[in-house]
Symmetry: C2
Subunit: 324 residues, 2 copies
């Protein structure tokens, strides 16, 4: 079956006309007649594909908005407004109240305002469209990584996927690790403040939602550069380090998805500024590799700088992905 | 079960903060820092609720965008950009190609550009978010109808619901009527040009998607006015007039839904301008009543000007609506 990315490309990608940046980045950018740049993004969460039947409504309200805020963060945009379309099998008031509570708590934290929506009967499905604004020329894009830049990652990857693996019975984690990983899976914190601080500083940026290597793949393809990732430099949470199944831990780290961290590039000369941006935004930032020349593609390097073979690919909804 | 409107009000309506107009009109209006007014709307179509399993993909592509363009039309906005979120049970390429063809044909006709989206696995669900722009102060709203204005309707209502009644076996129409009614149901033509021409002319406007009386109800409630509709003046297509089941024809006419016509008000002194706007937009416009004082509410008047009792209410997804 063709992958999600192939499908999008084949049927829904046309050259941008009035848009400054069309299909294929974290957000589309549209330039209004008065010169303001508006970033727009939409994400659909489906019961059974993105969350388990019976998932906690408050946390689901949080996550549904968080994944869209993460796309705005990856553009460096200021969150402004969002719309909510909701299909529900029944009008369960307790569910709605809890969902709204989780969603609005996160919305208020990021000063983004619900301005419209649609409610209908159907299999439980949540579609949020978020709108942000940007000064012209300051958007963080995927196609602007440059040879010689360093590769950075906020927070760490793998915890959400490890939480899912535990919930699915693939691994049995200790209680502390379960708590941490499920929180990362169910209530991700979008890196909005970091994205804003990277405006004018990062070369390229993307949010890690499909898995670290898969999302890096989008950057190198669209920027037409190579990239090297230092396996040993990758940040790992205590929970991930505690996982006895090392193959699973590596899979989560490199290809887990649902991380909602920012992966970005910056010139080596601006290392201190990147560190300061992370500190000001309250999130760790780690140098994990570099942008290189040559054919577009990403290599994972071991301690000896020898390439590690990575057969695994990122999460792809139409090529075998399940509930995440 | 609470109605869709009650649900939206209860859990998702908060006072507008930065938005010029929040939840509760055809579109939200947001004023960008540079002064431009942007109209945004989102609609979700679910298989089994809004369309039959196996529905023609090309026509579905058309309709999914048309219902959003109709919301922009009801604000008088210029269509600009849209986003598409799509859940599909499988990656059926023939379906995708046909869906894209129908959607893009309508998009091109209205110069609206697809700028982003999301594709995922799940029960067939289509969520489109459309964005339009407007000069400040010119939006057609629901809450601005004024006593003394006349009530107008574009085209006619009831055909889509009659087509659905035929498809469901509730009535057997002649071949010509079937063709006409199914076209109205499956490939509605959003009244974008009319909406644009009504800027600065109409007092209030709404698109008729939930049924004529239900949508008029939204206008009178939000404008805090009364309205009288002249039953005999209501435009009826030849197909509707040919329907032998008069009770069904009346139900479709008054409460059918899925019409995507514009219902609007205008000062009596500007009748000729309204007629000219309709002619320029290529759609019939008919005076169907008037805005009056008194408690908010709409009355249907017979030829003798005596009120006709209307027990039926508009289509409401959570109060018993089915596939439409």
């Amino acid at each position: 079956m063709p992958s999600e990315f192939e499908l999008i490309r084949r049927y829904f990608t046309r050259p941008a006309r009035t848009a400054a940046l069309g299909v294929g980045d974290d957000c589309a950018l549209v330039k209004t007649p008065t010169g303001l740049v508006v970033a727009v993004t939409t994400d659909m969460l489906v019961e059974g594909t993105h969350f388990f039947p019976g998932a906690d409504a408050r946390r689901l309200g949080h996550k549904s908005l968080a994944v869209n805020l993460s796309d705005l963060a990856a553009m460096g945009a200021d969150p402004r407004w969002f719309l909510l379309a909701l299909a529900l099998p029944d009008a369960d008031e307790a569910w709605l109240a809890a969902f709204a509570e989780g969603m609005f708590a996160l919305a208020d934290a990021h000063a983004i305002e619900l301005v419209g929506g649609d409610t209908t009967r159907g299999p439980r499905t949540i579609c949020i469209t978020a709108i942000g604004s940007l000064p012209p020329g300051y958007a963080l894009r995927r196609d602007t990584a440059t040879e010689g830049e360093e590769l950075w990652l906020s927070g760490s990857t793998g915890d959400a996927a490890l939480g899912l693996a535990h919930a699915s019975g693939r691994v049995a984690l200790a209680a502390d690790a379960v708590r941490h990983c499920l929180a990362r899976l169910e209530t991700p914190e979008p890196r909005v403040a970091l994205g804003q601080k990277l405006r004018g500083l990062a070369g390229a940026a993307i949010d890690v939602s499909d898995g670290l290597l898969a999302d890096l793949g989008h950057v190198v393809e669209q920027s037409k550069v190579g990239a090297e990732v230092d396996y040993e430099a990758l940040p790992r949470s205590a929970a991930l380090r505690s996982c006895a199944d090392r193959a699973l831990a590596d899979e989560c780290l490199l290809a887990g998805g649902d991380d909602y961290e920012l992966l970005f590039t910056a010139p080596a000369a601006r290392r201190a500024e990147v560190e300061a941006a992370g500190a000001a935004a309250g999130v760790a930032v780690t140098r994990i590799g570099r942008v290189v020349g040559g054919a577009p593609g990403a290599k994972l390097l071991g301690a000896d700088r020898k390439p590690i073979d990575v057969a695994r690919r990122g999460f792809d909804h139409f090529s075998g992905g399940g509930a995440a």
